[in-house]
């Protein structure tokens, strides 16, 4: 249930943003899951539902989840590469799930084998938009 902690950050950020924008009602929030972190959508949504009581401002809010594919850019040879095809054990995938930066420990550029790459897209959880009514 590590997803619970991230779900709480999403709902809290949305409610704080809604207050800041003086929304009367928080309507819809776009939640982006970076492919690299491999968040379990079912657990995340279950956690969000459980947290609604704690955050009444998000009681009727829709959370639209989408997944952003991970894209890496090698700092050594400039190759751009996806997550698919990179070898990792089950344990390594679990560590990257908790801390996506562990990708630098366990993954490497498929061309030059360098661990010095940039996670250009699809790292972790983010909010792409927050809609409300005034």
């Amino acid at each position: 249930m590590h997803e619970w902690a991230l779900a709480e950050s999403v709902i809290k950020t949305a409610v704080e943003h809604s207050t800041l924008k003086k929304f009367k009602k928080l309507k819809e929030v776009g939640v982006v899951f970076g492919e690299l972190q491999a968040i379990d959508k079912d657990i995340f949504v279950f956690a969000l539902d459980g947290l609604r009581a704690q955050y009444p401002g998000a009681k009727d809010c829709k959370f639209k989840v989408s997944v952003e594919p991970a894209v890496f850019r090698c700092k050594a040879c400039s190759k751009e590469f996806p997550l698919k095809g990179l070898k990792k054990t089950k344990d390594e995938a679990e560590f990257i799930h908790f801390v996506p930066e562990m990708a630098h420990t366990f993954l490497k550029c498929p061309r030059c084998k360098s661990p010095d790459f940039e996670i250009a897209e699809g790292r972790g959880v983010g909010l792409s938009y927050i809609k409300g009514s005034k």
Binding site: M1, H2, W4, A5, L6, E8, S9, V10, K12, T13, A14, E16, H17, V32, D91, E92, F95, F98, V99, P100, E101, M102, H104, T105, F106, P115, D116, I119, R123, G124, V125, G126, L127, S128, I130
Partner: protein, 234 residues
């Protein structure tokens, strides 16, 4: 894209009474041994204590404490495992003790992730073994934990002291409270406030918390605590 993680960091630390950031701006001056021994000492005195190794590139608190076979428990985030009465969190739980080759922004991201998901619960003290020097990560820790109080470690070396002076000026500018300065490896013959004498036996005690607490290093650090924390009852 809005990053939601910073919003819950203060929540995660809401049960922590005091956050002590052990800093050192030069390598090899004993920052990690001081942070780890401080956490053990506080726990031994009955304080609910946590230790967070934020020195990702040179994580070593697990070696100092002899932490083996531990992993955080998943419970609405991550609950740090208990080691000799200290709740302990480190990046090594996720790196299998391999090198963590991170650039500055990546270190920051990883620290924010762990600050957002770690459930510390109720603590009297959270000791932070800070990233060395001043960089993205160190500045982020100060930004996200503005109530952190600095305990700076230095050595009698002219170089370390000069760097220390610069760090204290910066902390003043950033309005970061400084609890005190500990001079490690001090040549002083008798115990003096703020000084920890060079202890040739320290190396052999590393990895064994009980032995570590019995070293002259730990005794001198203990003597420094009234100087660091004032008359607060520990």
């Amino acid at each position: 894209m809005i990053d939601p993680r910073p919003s819950v960091i203060s929540e995660r630390l809401s049960g922590v009474k005091r956050v002590i950031a052990v800093t050192g701006w030069k390598g090899g001056i004993g920052k990690s041994v001081t942070a780890s021994t401080l956490a053990l000492t506080l726990a031994r005195k009955g304080c609910r204590t946590g230790l967070f190794d934020l020195d990702f590139a040179g994580a070593s608190d697990h070696l100092i404490l002899g932490a083996k076979g531990l992993f955080p428990k998943e419970e609405k985030g991550l609950e740090p495992p208990l080691l000799c009465g200290v709740k302990f969190m480190s990046v090594v739980f996720f790196s299998e003790n391999k090198a963590v080759p991170l650039r500055g922004a990546n270190v920051s991201d990883a620290i924010i992730e762990l600050l957002a998901i770690t459930q510390w619960g109720e603590l009297d003290f959270l000791v932070l073994d800070m990233p060395p020097g001043v960089n993205d990560a160190a500045l982020d820790v100060m930004r996200f934990i503005p109530r952190a109080e600095v305990l700076a470690v230095t050595t009698p070396s002219m170089i370390a002291r000069d760097v220390l002076e610069r760090s204290l000026v910066l902390y003043r500018k950033l309005k970061v409270p400084v609890l005190g300065v500990l001079e490690n490896m001090s040549p002083a013959r008798s115990p003096r406030a703020g000084r920890i004498r060079l202890d040739p036996a320290l190396e052999k005690a590393l990895g064994r918390p009980e032995a570590l607490l019995k070293t002259a290093f730990a005794r001198d650090l203990d003597r420094c605590l009234p100087f660091v924390f004032g008359k607060m009852k520990l």
